[in-house]
Amino acid sequence: MIYREAGQFKTSYAKDQALFSIPMDKNFVLSIIALAIFIVPLLANEYWLGSILIPVLILSIAAIGLNILTGYAGQLSLGSGAFMAAGAYMAYKVATNLTFLPVPIAILAGGLSAAFAGIVFGIPSLRIKGFYLAVATLASQFFLIWLFTHVDWFVNYSISGVPSIADYKLFVDFGPLVTGAKASVEARYLFVLGFAILLALAARNMARGNIGRSWMAIRDMDIAAEIMGIRPLKAKLSAFAISSFYCGIAGALWAFCYINNVEQGAYDINRSFQILFMVIIGGLGSILGSFLGAAFIFLLPLFLSNFLPVIFDIIGDIFGYRPSIDIISHIELMIFGGLIIFFLIVEPHGLARLWQIGKEKLRRWPFPY
């Protein structure tokens, strides 16, 4: 009885088509956004904002991107890391060579370049499916990284090959610093949060609109979708383009607002796998799941590395045995792997499903079953 859809009557088409048609949902999302914008920067310290929330938000954007492609359109991709790199390198190029453009435009330009790369590497999806497509997208992973590390134009001919990101203000000459080491952590957080909110709302809108429905139709049965009049070319390539756009934005933000340089190692095949795991753990075809999955995959190792030494200190005081630091590090990996398997067994549909179960329980409150 706490949460209910029943009895909420809509009296106009506009209300029926609203992004969140139930006031309860709408208020909840609005209050989360307000909390993230106004309260979190006041409460959280530098460590939480800079090392936890910023990377989680950036990876969430990438996970939403891959979720559009894999979760909604059903096209398996292992190239997310490369599309992030495309965004980062091109955003760097635009920011350093077209200095009159404000940095958000540079990041969007990075996203658009990644979208273009996504379209090119999405073309095979018209002919091949499933694991075969995953292998084809793997080509983008290796080719794009190779391109960015071997064509010096992308790094402005720097000998070291790892260009550093300068401190940019929000609008060229005015506004707060939002990138680089001099920018305050609050400014960087809000900058990244702005992108995350806008992109998440846009993704949610697309998913329930015409384009999202065509993706899901293609995912569920491409031949049936084609017979119904959905053009696979348009649906698949738009999914690749938009997914890569999201990944590109995430890659650019990762370079500009988190690690302060454009380094190929940040976008290697492991990053692609990490994002794929986020989508699978979070829940395929769910925007909320992208956030939950990103938080789970990124934060669990950090939590273990913060928490395990404390546990072992306590155990050491009681039993007089203290495992060496490398054993603790390895235990961390084991627990991480174990928890992933545990979650997949008990909740194969991802963390987003837990949220749905929670909602159902609230609906039946006070007698949930």
Binding site: G180, K182, N260, D326, S329, H330
Partner: protein, 441 residues
């Protein structure tokens, strides 16, 4: 349904525990009167074979100073390790977690040192990247808080060419020679190429490039078949991780003359050579510090740490190349803190004060000898403008079949060639970032 409950309660416990453990970490950071040394280590992951001895050596020297002298002038060190697994994002997180009151960072990773460099400058904490990281950082007028002592990649490349020249009777004998340059296809491996190009033009030798892709480090069959065909006079390698043992194994397979094979100082780990054992005898690697445990300091290390059971690791790494590298790294920091104590008074030094100490390091051989580090550490003089040291030089260590031995004296680098390059690259960096280089007089 029970499983669902378990998940929910696990999640609740996790959130609560994070809050508590972060709180504890912050509380531990507040311990006063001790010099805090955060140590970013990689004891796990693909590069652990290098990371473990580096971390052990780095921690052991501080702990030995604590045990033997009660710290520096009574100020003890606290080494806090943070596991990065060689990942840049984990390194950044570790930095944010440990930076409160931190003295100096040596992350042993090119990626992490690039990512931290600007943050450290902002927080006024020095980055001591010995033999890795941004080469241009040797220009202290642009990189105030980065130290690249006692030598950089570019100078190492010139020294290796010098070694080859010495062996063949002088620099003029290099004319017409052909080298194979085997490198990790990564910014790290490509960094010496501009220097090698200049040297090739100047001395009239040629060299062929053999990149090894980071994704397939252990797949070098075709590379070495090509090398067998082209029969280079020498092979020079910029290797890292699994690439090095693979290259050595393949070189042995094609019966390449191991005495003509020279690796850089990261292709020098004992565990890289061990699989090939005596077959790799004669392989040489560059070093910027001594190798083995035949140094004065090891008597104290044994007495206060290994015999007392206080070593950071299992103690098996003592005297290996990377262990000594970690040890020498801490020795530089300890010397910088001693200098800072003289300047700012005895107490816990801030990062800025340690940076001052590093910038005024002037270690003479007599003094190094009194520390028991004779042969481990070169004479070093750092200035405001030169963060690499006035006389960068390398040692050559040769694989005898089961261990490394130093074969030669210090071989000086051709700084007249590299210094203008370093200054030009630093100036380009400063221009792009909008930094005004400080005055160094």
């Amino acid at each position: 349904m029970n499983l669902k409950k378990i998940i929910l309660s696990l999640a609740t416990v996790a959130v609560a525990a994070t809050t508590v453990s972060v709180g504890i970490n912050v509380a531990m950071a507040g311990a006063a009167g001790e010099q805090k040394i955060p140590s970013l280590v990689y004891r796990t992951g693909a590069y652990a074979a290098g990371g473990v001895p580096l971390a052990d050596g780095y921690a052991d020297y501080y702990n030995m100073i604590n045990e033997r002298d009660g710290g520096v002038n009574g100020v003890k060190f606290v080494v806090t390790e943070c596991e990065t697994a060689y990942k840049t994002d984990r390194g950044v997180e570790c930095y944010d977690r440990t930076k409160e009151g931190a003295t100096v960072y040596s992350p042993w990773s090119t990626g992490i040192s690039y990512a931290l460099q600007d943050k450290l400058a902002e927080d006024k904490i020095p980055l001591l990247s010995m033999g890795y990281g941004r080469t241009a950082a040797a220009d202290g007028s642009v990189f105030k808080y980065v130290f690249a002592l006692p030598a950089t990649y570019w100078n190492q490349a010139t020294s290796i060419i010098q070694v080859i020249a010495n062996e063949n009777g002088g620099l003029d004998k290099l004319k017409g020679m052909n080298f194979a340059y085997i490198y990790l296809d990564h910014p790290y491996g490509k960094e010496p190429i501009p220097t090698l190009d200049i040297l090739a033009r100047k001395f009239g030798f040629t060299y062929d490039k053999y990149p090894v892709a980071p994704a397939s480090m252990t797949d070098q069959k075709s590379t070495w078949l090509q090398i067998r065909k082209s029969k280079p006079d020498y092979a020079i390698m910029w290797g890292w991780g699994a690439m090095t043992p693979t290259a050595i194994k393949e070189a042995v397979n094609i019966r390449f003359d191991m005495t003509k094979f020279i690796g850089n100082w990261w292709a020098a780990n004992e565990s890289d050579l061990a699989p090939s054992g005596v077959k790799a005898k004669g392989y040489r690697a560059a070093a910027f510090h001594g190798v083995g445990d035949g140094y004065g300091i090891y008597a104290d290390m044994k007495k206060y740490l290994y015999d007392a059971g206080k070593a950071a690791g299992d103690g098996s790494k003592a005297g290996t190349t990377f262990y000594n590298r970690g040890l020498v790294n801490s020795a530089y920091v300890v010397e910088a803190i001693k200098l800072a104590h003289k300047e700012f008074g005895i107490g816990v030094m801030t990062g800025d004060q340690v940076a001052w100490g590093l910038e005024h390091l002037d270690l003479k051989n007599d003094y190094i000898k009194s520390l028991g580090l004779n042969g481990l550490m070169p004479e070093t003089k750092i200035t405001c403008a030169n963060h690499e040291g006035q006389n960068p030089a390398i040692l050559i260590q040769e694989w005898t079949g089961d261990h490394y031995a130093i074969t030669d004296e210090w071989i000086p680098a051709m700084t007249d060639i590299t210094r203008p390059l370093i200054e030009a690259e630093a100036a380009a960096f400063a221009a792009e970032k909008g930094i005004t280089p400080r005055e160094c007089n």
